[in-house]
């Protein structure tokens, strides 16, 4: 049996805008992924430990609060601290993110940033293509 791709859809920090995350969770489900949704207001530690315990392949962080540069690197660092390996998974960010910050986030280890209006099929394709690519690169 082919392993199912597990995706954590996370809302971090003080941000009550969960429509996007919920719609994404639903469409990823329809695309055959196993999706774990965290609910609102999680801390970076909570998201990181969930990512490790649930052994997910993809961590998708949704932010509309403007605190992405502060919170996203924390999630990545805590995943490492809890014994996980961010190089084995895809770290995706979604939300209202200024173009300059997208460059910054990618330097911090984020694989891709999706801004409002992105077709969900694009996110699905990205995961299906990039996850095996990144794993291969990490192994060699």
């Amino acid at each position: 049996m082919e392993k199912k791709i597990r995706v954590l859809v996370a809302k971090v920090g003080l941000d009550g805008h969960d429509r996007g995350a919920k719609v994404l969770a639903r469409f990823l489900r329809d695309s055959g992924f196993e999706v774990i949704y965290t609910g609102l207001h999680r801390t970076p530690q909570e998201v990181a430990m969930a990512a490790v315990d649930e052994d997910v392949d993809v961590v998708g962080i949704s932010l509309h609060s403007g605190a992405h540069l502060a919170l996203v690197p924390k999630v990545i660092n805590y995943i490492r601290e809890y014994g996980g390996n961010p190089d084995e998974m895809l770290v995706l960010v979604g939300g209202v993110i200024p173009t300059d910050d997208i460059v910054e986030l990618k330097k911090m280890g984020v694989d891709e940033v999706f801004i409002p209006g992105t077709p969900i099929s694009e996110i699905v394709e990205f995961i299906k293509i990039k996850l095996p690519e990144k794993r291969k690169k990490n192994e060699s």
Binding site: M1, K3, K4, A25, R26, L28, R29, D30, S31, G32, F33, E34, V35, I36, Y37, T38, G39, L40, H41, R42, T43, Q45, E46, M49, A50, V52, D53, E54, D55, Y82, G83, G84
Partner: protein, 346 residues
């Protein structure tokens, strides 16, 4: 990770190793058999508690509150929460974890090292559990959790697989889900060691409580009546292990309001009491014996089918069956003979 690394890590308390071992087992990787072989002797200590009930009765919220309560009592808690996987796309939305701590981030349930929460998809399987639930529970057991809570898929009326895994089965209900006829139907409402009427602050909770108690009193009468019948043994066989299962134990009915934390301590007491009762009366060994027998037979069956596929020309036999040249009973006898002979040769 290699099997050795995983097993050592798991047994020495490394969460990452536990998480990865679960992935291997859940997906039936070739390494999973070896992992299970190596950890099995370390299992058998945990109290495995199953929670089942209709969708939306509050199972996940109860799991969260019970986890908190058992942590207060100094116990380490592992949780396996199963949600339905789509039989069409294979996808799943696993939404049990988000109830953990009821979004109150002052409670550190998500980052407490004494808690491990794993979401699983049923992957289209009926029965209320995921295929590998039993083995995943064993991994948590070997890791050293004292209590393991297994939350089933929101079950309908006949999803009773939880009794194959749990020592204590908790059936969760709520007001206004049906009358006493619903409660007397077979299936999920026969399997409880403990019954919970959640959302007890809604109207009608007393009615459900009364109906449940009435149903349970009828169970006792049924047992008595059966034992007085001249063909009592046959009746016992016909009614399966059901009446034997909880002989001597009167399942309590506990009222809770999970999101407000009401009745949770009482429920935790009832769960602990049931465990104590089972250990004192030897019921736990009896249940585990039944379970091990079933599991052993399942594994042996799988192995034999594998042998049939490898060692016999079963495809030809199927063709003959299709053409009505042979009957299935004779065909099966010949295949069994062939397998046995191949064993002698090899």
């Amino acid at each position: 990770m290699k099997v050795e690394e995983l097993v050592e890590g798991l047994l020495s308390g490394n969460r990452r190793a536990l998480a990865r071992a679960i992935t291997y087992v859940e997906n039936d990787y070739p390494e999973s058999k070896e992992i299970m072989k190596r950890i099995f002797t370390k299992t058998g200590k945990a109290h495995i508690v199953g929670l089942t009930g209709f969708p939306g009765v509050g199972k996940s919220t109860l799991v969260s509150k019970l986890t908190e309560e058992f942590r207060k009592r100094g116990k380490k808690v592992g949780i396996v929460a199963i949600d339905p996987g789509s039989p069409f796309t294979g996808g799943a939305l696993l939404g049990d974890r988000l109830r953990l701590d009821g979004m109150d981030s002052r409670k550190p349930l998500w980052t407490d090292p004494g808690i491990f929460f794993r979401s699983m998809s049923s992957r289209g399987r009926a029965g209320g559990l995921a295929a590998k639930t039993g083995d995943v529970v064993r991994l948590l057991d070997a890791f050293g959790f004292d209590v393991i809570l297994v939350e089933t898929v929101g079950a309908g009326q006949s999803e009773v697989d939880i009794i194959e895994v749990a020592d204590t089965s908790v059936v969760v209900m709520m007001p206004e889900t049906g009358d006493e006829i619903q409660i007397n139907k077979a299936g999920i409402l026969e399997i409880g060691d403990i019954y919970v009427v959640n959302k007890a602050d809604l109207g009608g909770a007393e009615k459900v409580e009364r109906w449940l108690k009435y149903m349970l009193s009828l169970d006792e009468e049924s047992v008595q009546m059966l034992s007085q019948m001249t063909h009592a043994d046959e009746a016992r066989v016909a009614s399966g292990e059901f009446f034997e299962r909880r002989k001597g134990w009167n399942p309590p009915v506990v009222k809770t309001v999970a999101d407000k934390g009401e009745g949770i301590a009482e429920l935790a007491d009832a769960i602990e009491e049931h465990f104590k009762y089972m250990k004192e009366t030897g019921l736990i060994e009896k249940r585990r014996r039944e379970r091990m027998k079933r599991e052993l037979f399942e594994i042996v069956t799988d192995d034999i089918i594998k042998l049939v596929k490898e060692k016999t020309n079963y495809r030809d036999v199927i063709e003959k069956l299709v053409r009505n040249e042979i009957d299935p009973y004779t065909a099966a006898e010949r295949i069994v003979e062939e397998v046995l002979k191949s064993g002698e040769k090899g």
